[in-house]
């Protein structure tokens, strides 16, 4: 007689008066397949943990975002924010969809060039552009978004040496009613810094001021903040038109749209609290359309949306290492993935699903990673069916920032695969090895030998 599937015996006290703040019913319904591919097959072929990216999900999300804006505003351009996820295969899905590139460092810039993005469709942001970066961007004709006065003066010097006219914009920071205000980047609107920078650029007559840029924050739960920001950028652009009779080609609203993740401490799941692309698009488009541009002089609207375009397309597969009972009686589950590869666990309560069928009994458990440090907590409390060593789980909505902010610490970075639109699996990054890590190390001769 075949033996029955085992499940750990569980007893759970029923609190009839309270609903569970953390567990939602859907959370523990099993997710055995991603885009039709079995989780257990993916893990047996590529190892555990494993990042999985759905190409279909990226393309659908992108199309939905583009539709939300294009149906409300005539000229819209997305620029893929490389830092959000710069695995080349991911970038190229966005470029195939029509996205430009948005970079904030020299290596990101070279990545975009190597991927084949035309230089004038690369936006170079950020406070740290080296001379080498600036010279490359000026020579190639990329768009330089100036962050501070030192950079502005350096560009003026370089144009004298290079005898070229760079295409520039300035980054503007402003009060949009949101705290904290990201005023460490760019030039302030309210105190007149932004306007002064504009005058300096125009007076220098060494560069073309083609755009105005802002990035008001990230995971912005208020679409109204974008309406305020768009009005302020439009006001500057119209001021330039009136005072200098120059048309600003584009307004770049940066990124910052919230993904559907749930922030720690949030009572409702992110799916219920994050504005939709339509809501953001409505706020931004209305603000620009009503700001006073003649219809034939409406600027191009650029968006550098990062997390909202990729977060949901990413999954992290992992396995249970052990179950424990903590001293206060709480159950703890140790997984084979830690905060070194799931950085976003610090601010999101990521949804975690079992990857195999279970009965409907559940337990609350703390979810720990495998690292030997106390802060390696994936979830403070998560409702899951009883799982045993070797069982698999799926962590949802991990596509943004994890595959760029991850680090090798105690454990190395795992493989990444992409499931294409036909359900084929492609490995797009290999897991790290000791040889890979040690490639960059040097051993001084006198330290090579020791006796113990």
């Amino acid at each position: 007689m075949a033996k029955l599937r085992y499940e750990r015996p569980v007893i759970k006290k029923l609190n009839t008066n309270f609903t569970n703040k953390y567990g939602t019913k859907t959370e523990y319904s099993p997710v055995t397949h991603i885009e039709g591919v079995a989780v257990k097959d993916l893990i047996s072929k590529y190892g555990s943990p494993l990042f999985v990216i759905s190409e279909t999900h990226i393309r659908n999300t992108y199309k939905n975002a583009l539709r939300a804006f294009r149906t409300r505003y005539p000229k819209v351009q997305f620029a893929w924010s490389y830092k959000t996820n710069y695995i080349n295969a991911v970038c190229n899905v966005f470029h195939q969809e029509g996205s430009w590139g948005e970079v904030v460092s020299g290596f990101e810039y070279r990545k975009a060039l190597n991927n084949g993005v035309p230089p004038d469709k690369i936006i170079f942001n950020g406070p740290d552009k080296t001379d080498e970066d600036l010279i490359a961007a000026i020579t190639n004709g990329s768009r330089i978004h100036i962050d501070h006065l030192d950079e502005l003066y350096r560009i003026i010097e370089l144009t004298d040496e290079l005898k070229m006219r760079p295409k520039v914009a300035i980054r503007v920071n402003m009060n949009t009613g949101i705290y904290p205000m990201w005023d460490r980047f760019g030039f302030n609107y309210e105190n007149g810094q932004a306007w002064e920078a504009i005058i300096k650029i125009l007076a220098s007559d060494r560069m073309d001021l083609v755009g105005l840029h802002c990035h008001i924050g990230t995971f912005m739960l208020s679409s109204n903040a974008y309406a305020v920001a768009a009005s302020k950028l439009a006001d500057l652009a119209l001021g330039i038109k009136i005072k200098f009779n120059k048309n600003i080609q584009y307004l770049d609203m940066g990124g910052g749209f919230a993904s559907t993740n749930t922030l720690h401490g949030s009572f409702l799941p992110g799916k219920d609290t994050s504005p939709t692309f339509d809501e953001y698009a409505e706020a931004i488009s209305t603000a620009i359309l009503q700001s006073g541009f003649p219809p034939n002089e409406l600027p191009l609207l650029i968006l550098e949306t990062g997390r909202a375009l990729i977060d949901e397309a990413g999954y992290l597969l992992g396995s249970v290492i052990s179950n424990k009972r903590l001293s206060d009686g709480r159950r703890a589950t140790i997984m084979d993935f830690g905060v070194n590869i799931l950085f976003t666990a610090f601010w999101y309560s990521h949804k975690i699903s079992p990857a195999q069928e279970f009965s409907h009994y559940t337990e609350d458990s703390v979810i720990y990673g495998p690292l030997c440090m106390n802060i390696d907590v994936i979830r403070e409390s998560c409702t899951l069916p009883p799982m045993k060593r070797g069982d698999h789980v799926v962590v949802h909505t991990v596509g943004a920032y994890n595959m760029t902010q991850w680090m090798q610490f105690i454990a190395m970075r795992p493989s990444v695969v992409m499931i294409d639109t036909k359900g084929e699996v492609h490995q797009i990054r290999d897991k790290e090895t000791l040889e890979y890590l040690e490639q960059k190390e040097m051993m001084p001769q006198y330290l090579k030998k020791f006796t113990l």
């Binding site: 033996k3 085992y6 750990r8 015996p9 009994y361 060593r389």
Partner: protein
């Protein structure tokens, strides 16, 4: 360790609803947990209980050992089981 006894006062349904009349507390127990509680109430020893589970389910000794101890500790903590009969 002395053998744990399930308190005689508890009521448990086939579906795993466990009720303790003296405190009014109620619990939910999964099917395998119900089976273990039933076996213990029939006066089976720890060894016999484990043997039954091992023969019926796809599980190894070590895992069951660990899960069994944890389950019995939980029963004790919730006052469903005790070392002496009450």
């Amino acid at each position: 360790m002395s053998q744990l006894k399930i308190k005689s006062s508890i009521a448990i349904s086939e579906t795993g609803f466990l009720f303790m009349p003296n405190t009014g507390d109620s619990f939910s127990v999964n099917p395998i947990g119900v089976e273990i509680i039933d076996l213990l109430r029939q006066g089976k020893s720890e060894k016999e209980v484990k043997k039954t589970i091992l023969s019926k389910y796809e599980i190894d000794d070590a895992t069951l050992e660990k899960d069994y101890d944890d389950f019995l500790n939980q029963l004790k903590q919730h006052n469903v089981a005790d070392t002496d009969e009450n």
